[in-house]
C-alpha cells in the first residue's frame, strides 16, 4: 500500500516499555490506604437446597469488617443477556454447581477473610444433580431454573432456503459428528478487582475485565446505583479470551462490601476458582449433514448441536446462535437448517471463548468437507476454492461479504506449504491437512437491546500543542488495541505515533462495548478515526482563518502542515508561537515548515481546547428472523491454514511440525500485532485440539483446576508457524481494516484433524487428540483391517451415517486403506 505514514507498519506496542520492565500495573499490583481483603464462600455441592446460613462465628472473628449473604445483597438478577438474567450475587435458596457463591467476607487481611469464610456454617439438603446433556434433558430430570423446563437455556430452529429440496438434488450426502471438551481460557492473570466506594456516593471499580461498559451497567443495576455514579476502570489485564467479558459475582461482591464498609476492598480468584467460575468454551456436540453435487458444489447443510452449558446462561444464548449462524460462510450455501439446544447442567457455567460459539462447528464441518472431497476424488483445497464466496455475496442467512480475501488465503497456504507436492505423497505416520475459517468482525448488535453507539472516542489536543490525547473506554487486554488506536489516531490527524498519548479502559472516557466478538479494531477504530479527523479539521480551520487559505488546500502529514498549492508566509504565526516559548531550546528555525505543534497551539489560542469526538454503530444488519442479530457483522474476517504433523504410531502422540496460516484482516494496522494474534490463535487452537479438557468427578467437582493438569501448550509444544497476512480492502472498516483476534483460531482445530487423518488413515470425531485417543483409533482401525483380511474392499459408497451415533466412531475410508493401512 505505502499510502500511509503510521498504520500498515510494524510498530512497537505503546505499552511494551512498561510491560518489559515489570512496571505495567495489573489490578493485584494496586493497593489503597485502608484497603480490606475479600474472600468468598463457595458451594462444595453441585446441587443442593440451602436450609440455613449461620454467619455468627464469622462476624465475631476479630478483623472481620463485613459478612454478606443474599440477605444483605438482595436478589436482583443479572447475567450477560437481559433475556436470560439468571444469577444473583449470592445464592439464597439453592446452589447449582460446585463453586456457586453463598457469602463473602471483608477483613483486614486475606488470611482473616479466609478464616472467616471457613467459619460460616451452611446447612444443605442435597438434590440430585445432572452433569451431562443427556441427564439434563431426560424425562423427569431435576430442573435447575424453573422458568426453563427440560433445562433448555435456549433453543434455536432456523431454516434458510429449502433444505430438503436441496438434498434431493445431491449426489453425495455425508453426515458426521464432532464433540470437544469444556475449555478453560487459561489467561495467566487470575481475575481480580478492587472496589472503592467513596463518601460522595460514587463507586470506582478497578477490575480485570474485558468489558468495562457492561460491567458498569450490571453493577449499577444490581446494586441500585445511578450509572453515572459507577466508574469502572480497567488496569492492564493479563489476558481475557472471553471469560472476562462479563460482570462476575466477585466484582459485585467486592463493590457491595466496599459500600458496606466504606473502605476499598480487594478480591482475587485463585487458580482453582478460575475453573470453578468457568465461563469459557462450552462442550459442543455437533452433527452435521452436507449434501453436494458430483462436481463438489455444496447444496445444503443440516446441523444439530447440543451445548453443555453449566448452571447459568452467561453468554450461552448467543453461543448457541453463533454455532449455527457462522456456518453460513465462507462457502456458497443455498440452504441451511440448524437446530441448537443449550442445556443447563450442575457444572460451572460456560460462556464465550475466542471464536465464540463457532470453533467446534467449524471444525466439524471442515473435517466433513475433507471427507466429502476424498469421496469425490477432489483435492480438499480445490473443493474449497470451488465453493467459496466472493465479495458482494450474501449468505443464505443474510450475512454480507463486504470484503473476503478467502481465495488469497487458501492460495497462500497452498503455495507456501508445498501442498501440491506433499498431499498424497507422505509416508504413513505423516500427514498434511487444511481448513478455512470465518468469523465476525464485531457483533452487529450490543448484548442488551439498544440503539447505543458501540464506541465513542474523544481526542483532545494538549493545550500547549503537539500532543494528541486519546480517550477511549475500549479494553486493551493484551491484544494490542491501545497501540492500534494510537496508530489510527496518529494516521487520522497526520502526526507521528510518538505524539499520541492514549488512555483507555475507563468508563469515564465514553462508551465502548469492549473486547469481545473481535470488534474493537473495526468499531473503536472507526470512532478513533472520526475523532482524529475532527481535531485535524479544527486545526486546519483555524489555520484557514489565520492564513486565508481554504481548508481543502491544506493537509497534515508526519506532523507538518502541507500546503497543497503555494506555501504562504507563516512568519507571523511562527513569531506568535516562539514569543510564547522564550527560553525553550526546541523552537522551530525559520526555514522549517509549519509544524503541527505550532498549528495546534495557534488553534487553542483561537478556540480554546481542541476536542474531537468520534462514534460508531453498525447500520441495521441481517435478516428479520428470530436471532438474526447473532452472527451479523459489518464485516467478516477469514482465514486458511495448512498443518503438517507426524504421529508416533506406537503411542499415538501427535507432533505438529509446521503450520502455514493466512488471515484476511483487511488492511493490517500493525503487522506485528496481526501476526501476534495469528500465532497466538494457532497456539490456543493447538492446545484445544491436542491437550485441553476440564474434567469433573461424579460429584461435579473439577478434577484438574490447575495449570499442571489443565494442559495448555508450552514453548516446546509450538511448531514453526508461517503467518501470511492477506489484506482485502474492507469498505466498512477504518482504512479498510477488520478483525484478526478471534477469527484466526477458526481453522486450527480442523486443519489438525484433517492432517491427523492424512497421517493415520482414520478419522477421529472427539477432541482432544491426546495420545490415547489417537492410539486407540489406530488400533481399532488395524483390528478392523485384520478382520476384513484379504477380502476385497468394497468400493461402494459407505453409509454416510456411520459416524453419527458415537462421537468416537471410526470411519474407514476405503480409498485410504491401501495407502496408509499397515
Amino acid at each position: 500500500m505505502g499510502a500511509y505514514d503510521v498504520i500498515n507498519s510494524r510498530a512497537a506496542r505503546v505499552d511494551a516499555s512498561d510491560k518489559v520492565r515489570g512496571r505495567a500495573v495489573y489490578v493485584d499490583d494496586m493497593k489503597m490506604p485502608g484497603m480490606l481483603f475479600g474472600a468468598m464462600l463457595q458451594s462444595p455441592l453441585a446441587h443442593a437446597e440451602i436450609l440455613d446460613i449461620d454467619t455468627t462465628a464469622a462476624r465475631r472473628l476479630p478483623g472481620v469488617k463485613s459478612v454478606l449473604t443474599s440477605k444483605e445483597a438482595g436478589l436482583v438478577k443479572y447475567g450477560v443477556s437481559p433475556a436470560r438474567y439468571d444469577e444473583t450475587i449470592f445464592c439464597h435458596d439453592r446452589v447449582r454447581h460446585v463453586g456457586d457463591n453463598i457469602a463473602a467476607v471483608a477483613a483486614v487481611d486475606l488470611d482473616t477473610a479466609l478464616e472467616a469464610v471457613s467459619l460460616i456454617k451452611v446447612e444443605y439438603r442435597e438434590l440430585p444433580a445432572v452433569f451431562t446433556v443427556e441427564e439434563a434433558m431426560a424425562e423427569g430430570a431435576p430442573v435447575l431454573h424453573e422458568a426453563y423446563p427440560r433445562n433448555l437455556t435456549a433453543e434455536v430452529h432456523h431454516e434458510f432456503g429449502d433444505v430438503e429440496a436441496a438434498f434431493a438434488q445431491c449426489d453425495l450426502i455425508k453426515t458426521s459428528s464432532l464433540v470437544n471438551k469444556r475449555q478453560d481460557a487459561a489467561f495467566i492473570e487470575p481475575p481480580g478487582c478492587i472496589a472503592s466506594f467513596d463518601y460522595s456516593g460514587c463507586l470506582t471499580l478497578y477490575s480485570s475485565t474485558q468489558v468495562p461498559h457492561y460491567l458498569q451497567r450490571v453493577v449499577a443495576m444490581v446494586l441500585g446505583l445511578p450509572v453515572g455514579k459507577v466508574r469502572v476502570v480497567k488496569p492492564y489485564v493479563g489476558g481475557g479470551f472471553g471469560p472476562k467479558a462479563g460482570a462476575n459475582h466477585m466484582d459485585l461482591a467486592a463493590s457491595l462490601l466496599s459500600m458496606k464498609t466504606g473502605k476499598p476492598v480487594k478480591m482475587n480468584f485463585d487458580r482453582k476458582q478460575v475453573f470453578m467460575h468457568g465461563r469459557a468454551r462450552h462442550q459442543f456436540f455437533h452433527t452435521i449433514t452436507t449434501g453436494v453435487k458430483k462436481d463438489g458444489s455444496i447444496m445444503a447443510l443440516k446441523h444439530q448441536c447440543h451445548l453443555n452449558g453449566g448452571a447459568y446462561s452467561s453468554f450461552g444464548i448467543a453461543t448457541v446462535y453463533y454455532s449455527g449462524s457462522l456456518l453460513g460462510g465462507p462457502y456458497k450455501l443455498p440452504a441451511m437448517k440448524y437446530d441448537g439446544y443449550r442445556v443447563y447442567t450442575n457444572l460451572p457455567a460456560c460462556g464465550a471463548q475466542r471464536g465464540h460459539g463457532a470453533v467446534i462447528a467449524r471444525a466439524c464441518w471442515e473435517q466433513q468437507l475433507d471427507m466429502i472431497a476424498e469421496e469425490l476424488g477432489i483435492d480438499p483445497i480445490e473443493l474449497r476454492l470451488k465453493n467459496m464466496m466472493t465479495v458482494g455475496d450474501v449468505t443464505c442467512n443474510h450475512l454480507n461479504m463486504s470484503s473476503l480475501g478467502m481465495k488469497d488465503c487458501v492460495e497462500a497456504v497452498r503455495d507456501r506449504s508445498g501442498w501440491k507436492e506433499k498431499k498424497g505423497n507422505l509416508p504413513p505416520g505423516k500427514g498434511i491437512g487444511m481448513s478455512c475459517g470465518f468469523f465476525v468482525s464485531g457483533a452487529g448488535y450490543s448484548i442488551y437491546r439498544s440503539e447505543t453507539w458501540h464506541g465513542t472516542v474523544i481526542i483532545k489536543l494538549s493545550e500547549d500543542g503537539g500532543t494528541a490525547l486519546v480517550y477511549t473506554a475500549s479494553a486493551e487486554i493484551g491484544q494490542g488495541s491501545d497501540t492500534t488506536f494510537a496508530m489510527i489516531a496518529a494516521e487520522a490527524i497526520g502526526i507521528p505515533l510518538e505524539w499520541v498519548r492514549l488512555e483507555s479502559g475507563d468508563t469515564d472516557f465514553g462508551l465502548d462495548l469492549g473486547a469481545y466478538s473481535s470488534r474493537q479494531t473495526l468499531m473503536t477504530g472507526l470512532a478513533t478515526k472520526e475523532a482524529g479527523e475532527a481535531v485535524k479539521r479544527q486545526v486546519l480551520e483555524v489555520l484557514s482563518e489565520e492564513l486565508g487559505i481554504p481548508v481543502e488546500d491544506m493537509d497534515i502529514k508526519k506532523g507538518v502542515i502541507i500546503f497543497k498549492r503555494e506555501t504562504p508566509d507563516i512568519t507571523a504565526l511562527r513569531t506568535r508561537y516562539i514569543k510564547e516559548h522564550r527560553g525553550w531550546t526546541d523552537n522551530p528555525s525559520p526555514d522549517e515548515p509549519l509544524s503541527f505543534r505550532e498549528a495546534s497551539r495557534i488553534a487553542f489560542l483561537s478556540r480554546g481546547s481542541i476536542v474531537g469526538t468520534g462514534k460508531y454503530k453498525p447500520p441495521v444488519l441481517g435478516g428479520d428472523h428470530k436471532g438474526a442479530t447473532v452472527g451479523t457483522s459489518p464485516a467478516y474476517g477469514c482465514s486458511a491454514q495448512v498443518v503438517e504433523l507426524s504421529v508416533d504410531m506406537g503411542t499415538g502422540k501427535i507432533n505438529i511440525e509446521k503450520i502455514t496460516d493466512a488471515h484476511d484482516c483487511g488492511l493490517a494496522i500493525n503487522r506485528t500485532s496481526v501476526e501476534g494474534q495469528m500465532i497466538g490463535s494457532v497456539s490456543m487452537g493447538l492446545g484445544e485440539a491436542l491437550f485441553e479438557e476440564v474434567k469433573f468427578d461424579d460429584k461435579g467437582r473439577v478434577l484438574n483446576g490447575d495449570l499442571a493438569e489443565y494442559k495448555i501448550p508450552r514453548a516446546l509444544d509450538m511448531p514453526a508457524v508461517e503467518p501470511v497476512i492477506v489484506e482485502s480492502d474492507e469498505p466498512n472498516g477504518p482504512f479498510g481494516a477488520k478483525e484478526v483476534g478471534e477469527g484466526a483460531i477458526m481453522p486450527a482445530i480442523p486443519a489438525i484433524l484433517n492432517a491427523a487423518y492424512d497421517a493415520i488413515g482414520v478419522r477421529i470425531f472427539e477432541l482432544p487428540l491426546k495420545p490415547e485417543r489417537v492410539y486407540q483409533a489406530i488400533k481399532q482401525y488395524n483390528q478392523k483391517l485384520a478382520k476384513q483380511g484379504a477380502e476385497e474392499m468394497s468400493s461402494a459408497k459407505r453409509d454416510g451415517n456411520l459416524c453419527t451415533k458415537d462421537a468416537q466412531a471410526i470411519d474407514i475410508s476405503s480409498q485410504k486403506m491401501n495407502v496408509k493401512g499397515k
Binding site: D15, A16, S17, R21, G22, A186, G478, G480, S683
Partner: protein, 152 residues
C-alpha cells in the same frame, strides 16, 4: 512469629520481617512492593513469579521467604542497568514478544538466566529454557525470536 531476614534484592540490601508461612513471591510483591513479579497460579506451574535466586531462576511461589535469608535475588525491576534496557528487553519490544505482559517479567528472567549460562543457545535450548513459563497470548514464537536475536 515473624522473623527478620536479610536479603539483597536488585543490589539493594533489605531487612524484612517475614512470617514462616509466607512465600517469597508474597514478600517481594507486598513487602518490598516489587510488583513486576506476578502471581499466576501459586503452584509452580506458570512461571509468572520467576525470580533469579543466587543466580538460578526459580518459581518464587515455591520458595519460603525465610529461605531467602542471606541470599541474592534479581527481579524484573533489577534487569535494567544504568545504561538502559537489557538487550533482551529491547528484543522483546522489537520482536513483538509481548502481548498482555503478565508472563513477560518471568519470561525475561528465564531467558536472561539461560543466556547468562549459555550465551549461544540453540532454538531447542531456548524453548527448553523458557518451558517453565506459560504464555497464553503469543504462542511463544516471537519470544523465541527475541531470545535468538540476542544470543551469540
Amino acid at each position: 512469629m515473624k522473623k527478620l531476614i536479610r536479603v539483597t534484592v536488585n543490589d539493594v540490601a533489605h531487612e524484612v520481617a517475614v512470617r514462616p508461612n509466607q512465600t517469597l513471591v508474597d514478600m517481594i510483591r507486598y513487602d518490598l512492593g516489587l510488583t513486576g513479579t506476578k502471581n499466576g497460579c501459586g503452584e509452580g506451574d506458570c512461571g509468572a513469579c520467576t525470580v533469579i535466586l543466587d543466580g538460578t531462576p526459580v518459581n518464587s511461589c515455591l520458595v519460603l521467604a525465610m529461605q531467602a535469608d542471606g541470599r541474592t535475588i534479581t527481579t524484573i525491576e533489577g534487569v535494567e542497568s544504568g545504561e538502559g534496557l537489557h538487550p533482551l528487553q529491547q528484543a522483546f519490544i522489537d520482536k513483538g514478544a509481548i502481548q498482555c505482559g503478565f508472563c513477560t517479567p518471568g519470561m525475561v528472567l528465564s531467558a536472561k538466566s539461560l543466556l547468562d549460562e549459555n550465551p549461544a543457545p540453540s532454538e531447542e535450548e531456548i524453548r527448553e529454557g523458557i518451558s517453565g513459563n506459560l504464555c497464553r497470548c503469543t504462542g511463544y514464537l516471537q519470544i523465541i525470536d527475541a531470545v535468538k536475536s540476542v544470543a551469540k
